[in-house]
Symmetry: C2
Amino acid sequence: MFQPLRFQENKLHIIDQTRLPFEEKWLHIKNAREMYQAIKKLQIRGAPALGIAGIFGLWLGVKDEINCSANTFLKKVQETGDFLKTARPTAVNLFWAIDRGISVLKRGKSMNSRELAHLLLQEATHLWREDIETCRRIGEHGQTLIEEESNILTHCNAGALATGAYGTALSVIYFAQQKGKRVHVYVDETRPLLQGARLTTWELQRNNIPCTLICDNMAAYTVKQKNIGCIITGADRIALNGDTANKIGTYNLALIARHHDIPFYIAAPLSTFDSSTPNGKGIVIEERPAEEVRNFHNTPSAPPDIPVFNPAFDVTPAELITAYITEKGIHSPHTIKGLLA
Amino acid sequence: MFQPLRFQENKLHIIDQTRLPFEEKWLHIKNAREMYQAIKKLQIRGAPALGIAGIFGLWLGVKDEINCSANTFLKKVQETGDFLKTARPTAVNLFWAIDRGISVLKRGKSMNSRELAHLLLQEATHLWREDIETCRRIGEHGQTLIEEESNILTHCNAGALATGAYGTALSVIYFAQQKGKRVHVYVDETRPLLQGARLTTWELQRNNIPCTLICDNMAAYTVKQKNIGCIITGADRIALNGDTANKIGTYNLALIARHHDIPFYIAAPLSTFDSSTPNGKGIVIEERPAEEVRNFHNTPSAPPDIPVFNPAFDVTPAELITAYITEKGIHSPHTIKGLLA
C-alpha cells in the first residue's frame, strides 16, 4: 500500500501533489519554513494530511531549540504555530493539530526544552498513527458493504493522499480489494481543480486498483450503463441531522444514486461530524475564484470576463444518504445522533 | 441579433469556432476545398450549420464551371458532393443537405450549366432560410414557457453558432428576451470539449443576455440555490417514444430537474425526430477518444495511460422530459406520435 507521508532522519517526506500525476517528486521537509511553503503551495492537501503536516511542522520548527530555557522554547513553539497557521488560514484541521501540539506541552511542566521537543514529536507521531488507525477502521467497516464483484463510483480525492494513509472513501475500496473482492472504480474528474483526474486515478493505479476516468457530467449515464453497485464519497463536514457538505458535485451524485436505486455512502471520521450545526442550512459554502472555472492549469476555456458561480462544496440532504461509514462502524441517518451523544 | 453565417460577394463568411471565445476571426470561404477544411477542422459545427455549409460548399465548388455542358456540370456537382462528405463522414445533416442540393438539379432537365448553378444557389439559400425560420418558430413557441423573470440552465451549445441563426434552446431564450422577459442563463461548461464555456457564453454575451458559467457538477447545487425556473437543452436525435439523445450530461440534468420539480424542456426541429427508432434503446452512442478526457484544452489533466469512458451523448428517457419545443409548437411526450404521424 502506497504511503504518501514518510518520517525519516528528522524530516517529513511528502509527495508533491501539485506535480501529480505527471511526476512523483518527494519533498524532504526539514524545517517550519519549508512546511509553510508546502502547505501554501498545496503540495500537501486534504484535511487529515494538513493536520499531520501542521503538527510535524511545529516540531520541525523547534526541534533544534533545545539549548534554551523551557520558557524560550515554549515561546518559540507558539510563534512557529502562529506562523504555520498563516499558510492556510481556512484549514480547520491545520489549526486543530497545531493547537493540539501546543497544548500537549502543558503536560510537561518540569521538563527542559529537549524533553519538551521529544514530547511534541511523540504527540505528532501519535496524531498520525491515530489518523491511520481511523482510516483503517473506516476501510474495514466499509468493505463489508461492497459486493464480491463491484463497480464503484467516487468523486474528488478521499484517498491516502488526503490523509495519513488509506484515505476514507478509497480506504473502503482498498480493504475490499484486500479481502479479495474484485472492484472497478469509476472516477469523476471533479472540476474545477480535477482532484479525481489528477490524484485519485494516480493513487488507484499506484495501488493496482482497476479504474476508469469519466467527466463529471457522465456520471448518470455511467451508473446506468456500467452496472455501478454504489457511490462512495468522503465528507468535509456533517451536520447533526446527517446533512453532508462535501466537494461540489456530491449532491449531484446522490440524486443519481437515488434515481437508479443504488446505495450512496459517505465515508468519514467521526471528527467530521459537527455537533454545533443542527442541519445543512447552517453550513456556509465557500465560493472560490472565477479563474478556477474560466481556466484549467492556466489554460483559458471561457471568455475572460464571463461571470462565474464557483461553490467549492455542496450539501447533500441526509435523506439521500444510505449510510455513513466511520471508524465506529456503519450508521444510518437515523442513528447518527445517538452515536454522537 | 448576431449572425454566425453571412453570404456576400459569392463567399460564405463563417466565424471560426475553434478560435472562440478568444478571437472573433471570420473565414471567407470561396471554394469547396476551403469549405472542406473548415468542416474538417471543426471551424464550423452543429448539425443545421453543417447542412448549410455542405450545400453552400457544393455550390462554391461548381459555381465557376458554367461554360461546360450540363452533363459535365452535373458530374462535377457529384464529385464535389462526394469530396465534401469526406470532411465529416458521421455528420448526417451534411450528407442530407448535399444530397438535397444534388437532387434539386434533377428538376433542371433542360437547363444549361449556368442555370443549374443558379438553381443550386437558390436551393442553398432556401435551405438556409428554412433553417432560420424553423429556429425562429422554436424560439417564438418556446418563449411562451418562460416566466417574466426567470433563471434558466442550459448545456452545450444549442445556439446560433450551431444553426443558420437563433439556435434551438438558445432561440427560446433570445425570443423570451425580445418579449421583454428578464432571463438569466446558467451555462454548464460541458466537458470534455467545453462547448458551453467556449461557445454558449460567448454567444449569449454577444447578444446581451446575462449569463453565469458553472462547471457541470455544480448543476444540482445551482438549481437549488439560484432559483432556476427550468432547464432547456437541444437534441441530437429523438426516438418515436420521446427518448432523447443529446450531449453527454443531459440525462444528468433531467434527473436534477425532476428532483427539484422544475420543467425540463428539449428544443429541437421536427427533423430531429427519428421515426425509424421506436425508443432510446435503439440509439447507438458514439464513444470518443480518451485524449479528450485526459486533457483539458491540450493541457494534460490525468495520467497518460488511464482508461477512459467517453460517451459523446446520453439518452434521456421521455418520462423525464416535460415538453418538446419544435417549429410546430409545444408537445408532451404523449403527443409526439400523433405529431409525426
